[in-house]
């Protein structure tokens, strides 16, 4: 027996820039079974209640990546988000366009910034001319080499991660999770000859602005886990070039800072990251903090068993030629 229809209050963001003074939320009351996808609900609105609603969609099967939008605040695909659980948690279904991209109309955003970041990482194989593709067959990879991709080839470029990312929202210099996950895919590809160049370049082109908040990993409908691949890129970039940027200096400096005493020496870390001159802009706020919390300049520790920690560090520090 089919599930019974339940009342679904759908509140949809409506905005035509240049026409409307400000965005509004229009409410449509539908009756749908709980497993109905939000996309189906929106198409029903457009077919039966309001033909002016603008939205982007295509396959309805979570393959094309066209229908990403914010549903009750979370960036996700409308075609694979049933209304039932949303109603249970929120009592209504609020649908808004993706964030971090300008609205063209209603639920349709201008994806140009997202695609520009994608193009910037040069998402194509740069084959090594010294190792041409074997004639008549694709360049083979071992299963272990394929495993290094993790789930990055599954990315459908829906931009849900880009919409969810607070670093994208706060700083145009951050390429966004999708572009970095794609970059990772080429960096670990054994056929790609540009690994070193790619890693060196990304160090100055936003890699270190990732907050590792994992909002992208939560948003991703394909479990690409961009935040984890960005972490991998950071470690590979340090191995490729050493700590050249504030971000990599902070990571490497943090590790060596803790190695000395087993616990963090806070003020020293700021100096390690910015250098003596670079930390000057930090000084006024640093003094305000120090007045309330004088321990920031203290040299804490050492912990008991520091020798054990040292042996762990020594065992896992990068070996030459890594």
């Amino acid at each position: 027996m089919p599930d019974a229809a339940v009342p679904v209050p759908l509140e949809v963001y409506r905005f035509a820039p240049g026409v409307d003074a400000a965005p509004t939320y229009r409410r449509y009351d539908l009756a749908l079974t709980p497993h109905t996808p939000v996309l189906t609900a929106l198409l029903k609105v457009r077919a039966e209640l309001d033909p002016t609603l603008a939205l982007r969609y295509s396959c309805r099967s979570a393959i094309c990546g066209s229908c990403a939008m914010r549903i009750n605040g979370k960036s996700r695909l409308a075609c694979e988000t049933p209304v039932g659980p949303e109603l249970e948690r929120h009592g209504r279904v609020v649908v808004e366009p993706m964030a971090n991209q300008p609205v063209l109309r209603d639920l349709v955003v201008d994806q140009a910034p997202f695609w520009q970041e994608y193009e910037r990482i040069e998402p194509h194989l740069k084959l090594d001319p010294r190792h041409p593709m074997p004639e008549g067959r694709p360049n083979p990879m071992t299963p272990a080499e394929v495993e290094r991709f993790h789930d990055t080839p599954r990315c459908i470029a829906c931009a849900a991660c880009y919409s969810a990312c607070p670093a994208v929202a706060a700083d145009p210099a951050f390429p966004g999770p999708m572009a970095l996950a794609k970059l990772y895919r080429f960096v670990v590809d054994p056929r790609d000859a540009a690994r070193q160049d790619r890693l060196v370049r990304i160090q100055t082109e936003g890699l270190w602005l990732c907050l590792r908040c994992h909002l992208c990993t939560e948003a991703c409908p394909k479990d690409v886990r961009p935040s984890e691949r960005i972490r991998d890129l950071k470690e590979m970039a340090i191995a490729a070039q050493g700590p050249t940027e504030p971000g990599s200096r902070h990571a490497v400096g943090f590790a060596s800072n803790v190695r000395e005493r087993g616990t963090l020496q806070e003020a020293k870390l700021v100096r390690q990251t910015f250098g003596v001159l670079g930390m000057l802009p930090q000084v006024p706020q640093g003094i305000r903090i120090w007045r309330k919390k004088p321990e920031v300049t203290r040299r804490p520790g050492p912990i008991e068993g520091l020798d054990e920690l040292e042996r762990i560090y020594a065992a896992f520090e990068p070996k030459d030629g890594r």
Partner: protein, 293 residues
């Protein structure tokens, strides 16, 4: 209840008020905190960026210390909790485990994965229980509108942490309500405080912190509370620069989680180190009635 207390670096230094308040609250709730001077830093996510296996190994050592005493390990920092939990998960991979064991075992350190990693917030809500806490409230935080700020690493990655919904968590709000406060719901409560890039690009970090504070303020919060001392640094110690970056007055007192619990259980502000904050908490404290006996 006995727990291995993992205070983390910040609570032992610039964030000592968190340690002070934690000890006060645990004393008053009968939670025995067992200390281990052998614990090292968890790596705070930064060691993980530089060297993933090293990060797992130093936390395997931390976990083994608690295991040796047969105790679960309690943090007071979302990030420490996240790093220690992450290490446990990574150590389920036999290849990682073998690499780490090969270094730890010869030193007589035997990681087994038997101790649970938890956080003060979870201990209060799940182990002590809201009823027991409600019964001990001597100074209800009545009429105080508080925005809980979870910090990323208590919630995400949710499939690995296996705790509350990363989108609609409620443990912190439930606790605030049990203390008599009025929890404020706002989107920013599950977002990032900006701390990880505070020392990479301070102006971006400040904008992110400022946005979350504004979001709480615009939803009516007169104070915020956090279970993470790193969030506290971003939201309190760096609130002045954040205010300039978002171009609006913030003036938002930021409490460590156990400070609010302590106030409700009858502690005085000195016992909780409230004077150590950069943004004064006086206006909130002044609204509270004297503690009952």
């Amino acid at each position: 209840m006995r727990l291995a207390y993992y205070p983390g670096c910040v609570a032992q230094e610039s964030g000592r008020e968190l340690d002070l308040a934690t000890r006060w609250v645990c004393r008053s709730l009968g939670i025995e905190l067992v200390e281990f001077p052998r614990f090292s830093c968890c790596g705070s996510g930064f060691v993980d960026e530089a060297n993933e296996t090293l990060n797992v190994a130093i936390n395997a050592r931390n976990l083994a210390i608690a295991e040796g005493a047969g105790l679960d390990l309690m943090t007071v920092c979302s990030t420490c909790q996240g790093m220690l939990t992450l290490a446990k998960i990574r150590l389920q991979d036999p290849a990682v485990r073998a690499k780490v064991d090969a270094v730890l075992r010869p030193m007589g350190i035997d990681y087994r994965g038997t101790s649970k990693v938890t956080h003060l917030l979870r201990v209060l809500v799940e182990d002590v229980g809201l009823e027991a806490i409600r019964a001990k409230v001597r100074r209800p935080l009545a009429g105080i509108k508080v925005g809980a700020f979870y910090g990323c690493h208590l919630l995400r990655p949710s499939d690995e942490l296996q705790w509350e919904s990363p989108e609609e968590p409620h443990a912190f709000e439930d606790l605030l309500a049990a203390l008599g406060a009025e929890p404020v719901m706002y989107r920013g409560r599950v977002l990032c405080c900006g701390f990880p890039i505070q020392f990479v690009k301070p102006e971006t970090a400040g904008r992110i912190a400022g946005r979350q504070i504004l979001d709480a303020k615009d939803h009516g919060a007169e104070a915020m509370a956090t279970p993470c001392p790193l969030c506290h640094i971003s939201l309190d110690a760096y609130q002045a620069p954040a205010e300039k970056l978002v171009g609006r007055s913030l003036d938002m007192p930021i409490f460590h989680l156990p400070q609010l619990v302590g106030l409700a259980l009858g502690a005085n502000p000195d016992e909780l180190g409230l004077a150590r904050h950069l943004v004064p908490t006086d206006a909130v404290v002044a609204k509270l009635a004297p503690a009952s006996r």
